[in-house]
Amino acid sequence: MKIYQVDQIRFSIKWSLGSPYIDKSNKYEINDLDDVSHHFKTHIVNEIILPKGKIYGSKNPYRIKNDQTTSIYSIDKLNEVKLLMSYDDNYHHINLYLNKQKIKNIYETEYIFLGIMFLEMMMNYGYLPLHASAIEINNDAFLISAPSKTGKSTQTRYFKEVYPNACVINEDKPLLKIENKQVYVIGSMFSGAHVENENKKSIVKGIYFLNQANDNQILPLSKEDFFLNLMKNTLRPKEIRACEMFLHNVDVISKSLSGYRFEAINDKIASTHLLNHFRKEVLHDEN
C-alpha cells in the first residue's frame, strides 16, 4: 500500500501488483500515515458478484445504490461483469474490482478507473477537475482546455518542443482550487494517457479553450461564454452538496480569470502565438 498527498488531501492506494503506475506516482508519495482517511484498493478477481441494491441505468455503466455503498459496474456482451467500483458516501473506502478474465489491460484500466474515483473524491473537497492541459512557464500558469480528441495533447507537445523550460503540471485533468481569491492549479498522478504531471501548485492566470482551425487566432470570451465553456469541460459531482460548491466555484473562476477561444492550426507556430498572447494580454508583459 502506498500513501500519497495531493495538495492537502492524503490517501492510500493499494495498486495491483506490478503496476507501472506505482513508479509513475512516486512524486506524490509520503511516509506519514496521519490524516489518511481515503483508501483506494484494487482487487483482481476471476468473477465479480454484484452487491445487493437498486440498479439504475439502461446501459453501461450501471449503478447500484444501497444503504452502505454506491457501486458502478460495467458488463460485457455475455452480461458478465467486467469491472465494479464501490464507494461509501464520503469516499473513505473505494474498492475497484477488475475481472481478469474480461479485461485485457488490467494496469491501464486500473489507472483510468482509480483516476475517476480520485477526481470524484477531490470534488467533495471543492476541487474542480477541468479537462485541460495545465502549463507553467516562468512561474505563470495557463490552461489549454478542450474535450478529448481536440488536439490538446498535440498542442501541449508542440509547446514543450518550442519552450523546453515549460512545465506540464497535468496534461489531462488538472485540479483547480480557489484559495484566498486566487485560482490555483494542482497536479496529480492521474493525468491521461501520457501520464505527464508534476507535483506542483501554481496560480492560474488564464484559460484557453482550444478549437482546431486553419488560422491561429485568440479571441476573448464573454463572461457568460467563459462560464459555459468551463461547465462543458469540467467533471461534475454527483452529490448535491458538492454540486452547490461546484457551481459556486465555476462562477467565481469565470469572474476572476480571463477566458479565451484559442483557434489553432496543427503546427508548432500555434505555441508561439499562444505564448505571445499570454505574455501580452494576460500578463501584460510588453518585453
Partner: protein, 88 residues
C-alpha cells in the same frame, strides 16, 4: 400530465439559470441546460404535475405574451425536455 424527473436541480448562477443532474438516479443525462426567465418559470412549474395548457396559462399570467406565443414556447420546451428524457 407530466413533471420533471427526480434528480435534476435548477440553480441561479449570476444571471443564468442552470439545470444539472445530481444523484445516482440520473445517469443517462450528463449534460446541462441553460434556461432563460420563462424556461425557469416552466421548469419550476413542472416540479409538480402539470399540462401544456396549465403551463401556457402560467406564462401568459407571468409575462407579456399572447396565448399562442406562450403555447408555442411551452411546446418547444416540452419537446426539449422529452428529447433529454427529463419528463415523467
Amino acid at each position: 400530465m407530466m413533471k420533471i424527473k427526480e434528480g435534476f436541480v435548477l440553480r441561479k448562477v449570476d444571471k443564468k439559470y442552470i439545470v444539472i443532474p445530481v444523484g445516482v438516479e440520473v445517469i443517462e443525462f450528463t449534460g446541462m441546460m441553460t434556461l432563460n426567465e420563462s424556461g425557469k418559470t416552466l421548469f419550476e412549474a413542472l416540479q409538480k404535475e402539470s399540462t401544456a395548457e396549465a403551463l401556457t396559462i402560467k406564462l401568459v399570467e407571468t409575462y407579456d405574451v399572447t396565448y399562442d406565443e406562450a403555447l408555442s414556447d411551452v411546446l418547444d420546451f416540452i419537446k426539449t425536455l422529452k428529447q433529454y428524457d427529463l419528463l415523467v
